[in-house]
């Protein structure tokens, strides 16, 4: 048994050993003994008959064995607080205080003992000299571990301005985090830039990853180990530079969407923003040849969010069909944005020839009156995970957005994943390298600020109750006025130094060449679709320069 004072009050902490010594030697230690009695469990406590209110509340969440301590704060009225964490195997940790700051060593010992079983949490609160015991909190602990790192953008839930944002790497096994890139120091006056999502190849196993820089210093930053280079993927024959990326699982190839994207704002609706593609296509980029080829290049179909199957032989993506009404597509879609319904499609890919086969429908969201986005295939190739909302593709701003799943062995059956979802937006998600953990974004806490959750996904295809990304201070999330954005698992730390990134970003981007169609049988290449965008105030938010 371990009995610990809360680390926050470590100066006052007394272990059972010091207590025994103290009893033998005199008054000072006697006082310490009396004091230390308050850290033990109450002798008598009434049953409260309910769970204790706590922040964050991770009751019932399934935990990985290698997650950082789940600190929390007890939100009950009271003048003394004792929490017991215990396992069936007999490990126990008793902590006092309203706010828990569990040491990593104690936590790891508890978790090691709880693997394959449950971590129990009992909360005792004293009010008016009477102790209450709240219902026991249970967290199943599984043997499947999470990848040790994640990367994400820390950003205000912003609209058009973007200067203040950072790319962050967090170690999931403790509370260490570091800034990979801080956008502010590079922004001078109006010469700011926007750093887009960092996406690794195969959870960073190959050491390759990429992110975009928009506006000043625009370009796509490609990372290979510690090497960094910047390329410009915008060509005369494509809509924009690369936007939403998908690394081929084994080859040094990336599929990207290219998008003409604008933002419009709700005057009343608490969803606040619509991010609308007025045109979008798909490209394939070969970093070794520095060549861009077209996968989709159509006027009335808007393709986006590509993703590869784990064997690298299929490219999945979303696409919506829209026939222009009127003369300008942006004015049309600003009026009719709720009619845009994206389905999930796929094209077969030959890793040998780098050519794609014909397009086929995988999931018809439109038939359900819904719209799918951000498809991601599980590493075992069995499951297609995506977000589903009433319309559109930028689901972080859609309260109707929920995570859904279909089995690629039986695509007729839609799994709604109720254990993961909430009334607020649940969207951007990523599979861990072992396929057992889903990292996703949710605005369930307050509807506006995105937080990261991890959910266990068992071998039978069931998603378990998710756990909020733990932080050292339980108050962290209530005090933080920033969102966690576009999080991805990483099996190893990000390679390049901030200095190398800074130097590369300041360099001129290497211009990519356009090399025609990537289709085995080229389809009707159509005119670039932005010709019908007429809104005077329109800016493509994904334009490089």
């Amino acid at each position: 048994m371990i009995i610990k004072k809360n680390k926050l009050q470590e100066r006052k902490a007394i272990t059972p050993l010091s207590r025994r010594e103290g009893l033998g030697v005199g008054l000072v230690c006697l006082l310490l003994f009396f004091y230390s009695c308050s850290t033990s469990l109450p002798q008598q406590a009434e049953e409260a008959g309910r769970m204790a209110k706590m922040m964050p509340d991770n009751n019932g969440a399934t935990l990985p064995p290698n997650l950082a301590p789940l600190n929390f704060e007890i939100l009950e009225e009271g003048d003394a607080f004792v929490t017991r964490l215990s396992t069936k195997a007999g490990e126990e940790l008793i902590v006092d205080g309203r706010s828990l700051d569990i040491s990593l060593k104690d936590w790891q010992r508890l978790m090691a003992s709880a693997v394959g079983d449950t971590l129990w949490t009992d909360v005792f609160v004293r009010e008016d000299k009477r102790w209450k015991h709240f219902q026991r909190m249970a967290n199943p602990v599984v043997a499947d571990s999470i990848d040790p790192y994640i990367t994400y953008r820390l950003i205000r839930p912003s609209y058009v301005m973007y200067e203040e944002l950072t790319l962050v790497e967090r170690c999931m096994e403790n509370f260490d985090q570091r800034t990979i890139f801080d956008n502010m120091p590079m922004s001078k006056g109006n010469q700011g830039q926007c750093i887009n999502c960092h996406v690794p190849q195969q959870q960073g196993q190959s050491g390759r990853s990429q992110f975009h820089v928009r506006q000043a210093y625009g370009g796509t930053v490609l990372i290979d180990g510690t090497q960094v280079r910047k390329v410009n993927l915008k060509t005369d024959s494509t809509l924009s530079a690369g936007v939403y990326p998908a690394w081929h699982p084994t080859l040094n190839l990336l599929a990207y969407s290219v998008n003409e994207t604008g933002q419009s704002f709700h005057t009343l609706d608490p969803q606040k923003i619509e991010v609308i593609d007025y045109a979008s296509d798909l490209i394939l980029y070969d970093p070794e040849k520095n060549e861009v080829t077209s996968i989709e290049r159509t006027t009335n179909d808007f393709e986006s969010f590509p993703t590869w199957s784990p064997d690298g032989r299929t490219l999945y993506y979303i696409s919506a069909h829209h026939e222009l009404e009127g003369e300008s597509i942006d004015a049309d879609l600003d009026q009719n944005y709720q009619t845009l319904h994206y389905n999930i499609y796929a094209r077969d890919f030959s890793p040998e020839t780098h050519k794609f086969g014909p397009r086929r429908l995988v999931f018809n969201a439109e038939a359900m009156g819904k719209s799918a986005s951000t498809p991601r295939i599980s590493p075992d190739g069995r499951w297609l995970l995506f977000s589903l909302a009433d319309y559109g593709q930028f689901h972080i701003w859609h309260r109707s957005a929920d995570l859904c799943m279909i089995s690629l062995e039986n695509i007729e059956r839609l799994e709604s994943l109720e254990s993961l979802n909430s009334p607020e937006s649940d969207s951007y998600h990523s599979w861990s390298s072992n396929g057992r953990w889903i990292l996703f974004s949710s605005r369930r806490a307050d509807g506006n600020y995105t937080r990261l959750y991890m959910a266990y996904f068992d071998k039978d295809g069931h998603a378990h109750r998710p756990v909020l990304l733990p932080q050292r201070s339980p108050k962290y999330y209530t005090q933080l006025l920033r969102s966690f954005n576009a999080a991805e698992w990483m099996v190893r730390p990000f390679g390049p130094s901030p200095k190398a990134l800074d130097e590369t970003i300041r360099q001129t981007a290497l211009q990519a060449k356009y090399a025609g169609s990537a289709l085995l049988v080229p389809e009707n290449d159509q005119a670039i679709s932005n010709a019908k965008i007429t809104k005077q105030n329109y800016h493509n938010i994904y334009e490089n320069n």
Binding site: R156, A445, L481, N537
Partner: protein
């Protein structure tokens, strides 16, 4: 000591007079543009982002105290006085040179007092206190270094006695330096009347004191900026005087005494205007956009808190409430909020729209209301007024007739004027059946006669301004172009 005291007292009087006597509204505004939260996250971010994070944290704390201008001004004055004394101590200057020690305090004070509009766009952390605190720290370090060096040399102190022969000259030079820097500081202080008037209006709006906004509009003797015009019109609407008085107020478009003319109305007024006129999504948007650029300023947190409350986003409102509870002075008064909300709710009775204002706040509001159909009585009246301002008279009669029963016998004067004019221009409505005041009818008849007698519209405008300058007729015929920013 006797030579130091007059300088000290004189500096305190000058500094306090400039800050409390001239720039009081600016100090209040500075407080709500100063990000400072007593949270661990805020402190950690400050330390992580800035090399001298702890100094900037302290400076932000002190600057937040400008919420109570006397306290903020006293603290700044105290730091500046300390700098003068630290200068003398660090450089071992004789009392006769004490006047020279005030050059830096005056310069540092003017760095703050000359900001004006730029306080909104400055990304410098705690502009009033950061440099003074840094200077004070530097002087203390310098002083200790000098003291250490002397102790090492063990030599006699090179104090004032060698300079005694020069005392008189030094005293004179010293006083000139003091007076010169005081004058320079005063000269550089941003005393623009419209700016200070607009700040006072803004702060009155934030207190829900609409009569004070109108008093400030009346007392302003200069041509107003569009921001002042917008605030005045909002106050007229809030006090129910829009239909009677709007065109009697100056429709000025004075330039902002600052670079980049187009941004000040947005930065200073957009959140308040949108919030009070029911475009809550846009109020929230601009608060968030500005928070991205300028940090967690209480001004933005207040807007976002209010909007979340109005939208019924309880969890989000609690989040901002908690953030505000970690500021030094901006915990919300829920009674005031409820009063405000009651006045705004009728303006939320419309179908949400997906839109964008391109930063043209006044133009967007005018067009938006002018093109609105239906809604609550308050919305219809705003639609009527905005269609009059934009001179889009097509929807005049439906709106006028919808509002007529609610006026209970007294139609606001501008709507009477517009009814007579529209009937004259478009025909089709018999205004003799409308309860229009005889005085208004007679004025209109005189105007028609005068117009017939006078020649071109240019000379009409000049001649008729004295008698008809406060009417909608004058606005419609003689004020050309829609003044917006």
């Amino acid at each position: 000591m006797t030579k130091r005291l007059p300088y000290t007292l004189l500096f305190i009087v000058i500094a306090m007079w400039v800050m409390m006597g001239v720039l009081r509204p600016f100090l209040l505004e500075t407080a709500q543009l100063t990000p400072f939260l007593t949270t661990k996250v805020f402190a950690q971010e400050m330390m992580a982002r800035h090399t001298w994070g702890w100094l900037l944290y302290a400076a932000s704390f002190l600057q937040s105290c400008m919420f109570l201008p006397w306290l903020g001004a006293s603290l700044l004055t105290l730091v500046l006085v300390a700098i003068a004394y630290a200068t003398r101590w660090a450089l071992r200057l004789p009392d006769s040179c004490f006047g020279l020690c005030w050059v830096a305090p005056f310069l540092l004070l003017s760095r703050f007092t000359r900001m004006g509009y730029l306080i909104y766009t400055s990304k410098e952390v705690a502009v009033a206190f950061a440099w003074p605190l840094a200077a004070l720290l530097l002087l203390l370090v310098l002083g200790l270094a000098v003291k250490g060096l002397r102790a090492l040399r063990r030599g006699p102190a090179a104090d004032g006695h060698k300079l005694k022969g020069l005392d008189l000259m030094l005293l004179g030079l010293s006083f000139i330096a003091f007076a010169g820097s005081a004058y320079r500081m005063w000269e550089q202080t941003y005393k623009d009347t419209n700016f200070l008037n607009a700040l006072q209006m803004k702060q009155a709006i934030e207190r829900d004191d609409w009569d004070e906004v109108l008093r400030l509009a009346r007392d302003n003797r200069q041509e107003p900026t569009r921001l002042q015009v917008c605030f005045t019109r909002l106050a007229l609407y809030k006090t129910g005087q829009m239909g009677d008085r709007l065109f009697a107020h100056p429709d000025g478009s004075a330039a902002y005494n600052a670079p980049e003319q187009n941004q000040w109305l947005r930065l200073m007024g957009a959140q308040l205007l949108y919030y009070h006129l029911g475009k809550t999504g846009f109020a929230y948007r601009w608060a968030m956009e500005d928070m991205v650029e300028y940090g967690e300023r209480p001004m933005y947190l207040r807007t976002m808190h209010r909007v979340a409350l109005l939208n019924g986003e309880e969890a989000l409102a609690r989040k901002y409430e908690q953030a505000l509870s970690h500021t030094l002075f901006y915990e919300q008064d829920t009674n005031i909020l409820e009063q405000e909300a009651t006045a705004i709710r009728p303006l939320l009775n419309y179908t949400d729209q997906l839109d964008g204002d391109n930063g043209l706040i006044e133009f967007y509001l005018l067009q938006s209301f002018a093109l609105t159909e239906g809604g609550s009585r308050q919305m219809v009246e705003l639609s009527l007024m905005c269609s009059l301002i934009t001179k889009h008279l097509e929807g005049f009669w439906p709106r006028f007739m919808a509002l007529l029963p609610g006026w209970q016998g007294h139609i606001p004067t501008h709507y009477q004027e517009a009814a007579l004019m529209v009937a004259q221009l478009q025909g089709g409505v018999d205004t003799s059946q409308l309860p229009i005041d005889n005085e208004v009818r007679q004025r209109f008849e005189r105007l028609v006669e005068a117009s017939a007698q006078l020649g071109d519209s240019g000379s009409n405008a000049y001649t008729l301004r004295a008698e008809y300058g406060d009417t909608y007729w004058y606005y419609y015929f003689f004020v050309e172009g829609l003044k917006t920013t």
